[in-house]
């Protein structure tokens, strides 16, 4: 048995009461068992894409789209106002996600209206490389992301400016 002392509030009644620890410990044990069973140790989330390209009901013009191609040597970007694709080479063994983020951020700030992102990759590359790019898009608040089929293998071109 445990006693809990409460400060007296001026009345004559005593505020002390006994707390029966046996049911209290039983309750805590049940809580621990229940929470252990229902605990989620790995937090899952989702990255959204859409296979529709919708420029909006009022806009008659072609939607602004950045096409990102993931190749074995890095990223190749076809920007909306450009005619030649630019490249972001690999930084050693890693893909340069920092530079890709800079380029996409500058595009997001310069392009008026919604910016669409199309991502494609060489067939043999692992899925995680696409998720890295989708993650960058999600971090910039770009919601119109679609995955697609590679039309032509990356050709190589001038390095992207990065704004």
């Amino acid at each position: 048995m445990g006693g809990v002392n409460m400060p007296e509030g001026g009345g004559k009644r005593t505020l002390d009461f006994d707390l029966n620890l046996v049911p209290f410990i039983d309750l805590l044990s049940c809580c621990i068992s229940f929470l252990l069973i229902t605990a989620v140790w790995t937090q899952m989330a989702q990255l959204d894409t859409t296979q529709k390209l919708d420029g909006g009901p009022s806009s008659g013009e072609k939607p602004k789209k950045v096409n990102i191609t993931i190749g074995p040597s890095g990223y190749e970007l076809m920007l909306p106002e450009e005619k030649v694709a630019c490249t972001i080479g690999r930084d050693g063994n890693k893909y340069d996600l920092t530079k890709l983020k800079k380029v996409l951020e500058s595009q997001k700030n310069t392009v008026a209206g919604q910016l669409f992102i199309g991502i494609a990759a060489v067939d043999e590359l692992p899925f995680e490389l696409l998720v890295d790019v989708m993650d960058i898009c999600a971090s910039l608040g770009l919601k119109n992301v679609s995955l697609g089929q590679l039309v032509a293998p990356p050709q190589g071109g001038p390095a992207c400016g990065g704004g």
Binding site: G2, L21, F24, I25, L28, S29, C31, I32, L35, L36, T38, A39, V40, W41, T42, Q43, M44, A45, Q46, L47, D48, T49, T50, Q51, K52, A121, V122, D123, E124, L125, P126, F127, E128, L129, L130, V131, D132, M134, D135, A138, S139, L147, Q149
Partner: protein, 181 residues
């Protein structure tokens, strides 16, 4: 020869006197130990708070398979319950049912459009429309793929899903900093 009561004894040599004393002390020791309840209740409360922080009421509808490790992401949105296609290096599973072999799909030509998966997706769509007549079908589907699966397999699955009327495809990821490395 004197008669001695049976039991444990350490012998009669003078070198064993200390051992005899220790044995006698142990025999008289009580078997019950006192437990400090304040510390125990504190300890249990801390465990309850820790587990409450890990509690999730939304349930777990993703596949817990050792051969499907979702890629890491830092900006994923909260999961919404929609049908799940799981893709591992060996098989493609739709709602707990194996529909295709991954190796066979990879070996097939581009004309192969995963007919069993398309059929299963169309059945799911019909079931949704039959059961939830008051709701608009939004064509949402989740793909839970292993991080090492080649893009070719993912591409063929999402194209099949889009063909079956599911254009809004989300990919299950593991939030960075949680789970096993």
């Amino acid at each position: 020869m004197t008669v001695k009561t049976p039991g444990r004894r350490a012998g009669s040599g003078s070198a064993l006197r200390q051992v005899k004393r220790n044995m006698a002390a142990k025999a008289s020791r009580s078997l019950s130990a006192s437990l400090n309840l304040t510390s125990m209740v504190d300890f249990m409360s801390v465990i309850v708070i820790f587990l409450l922080m890990n509690f999730s009421a939304s349930g777990d509808f993703t596949y817990n398979q050792s051969d499907i490790v979702p890629p890491d992401s830092a900006y994923g949105a909260e999961l919404v319950r929609v049908p799940v296609i799981a893709i591992s290096a060996t098989e493609i599973i739709f709602e707990q049912t194996r529909v295709e072999s991954s190796r066979a799909v990879l070996a097939e030509t581009e004309e192969y459009t995963l007919p069993r998966l398309v059929e299963a997706l169309k059945k799911e769509q019909e079931a949704f429309k039959d059961i939830r007549k008051d709701q608009v079908f939004d064509g949402k589907i989740l793909i839970q793929a292993d991080e090492g699966v080649p893009y070719k397999l993912i591409r063929r699955v999402f194209l099949a899903a889009a063909k079956a009327g599911y254009p809004n495809i989300s990919y299950i990821v593991r939030l960075k900093g949680t789970g096993a490395p």
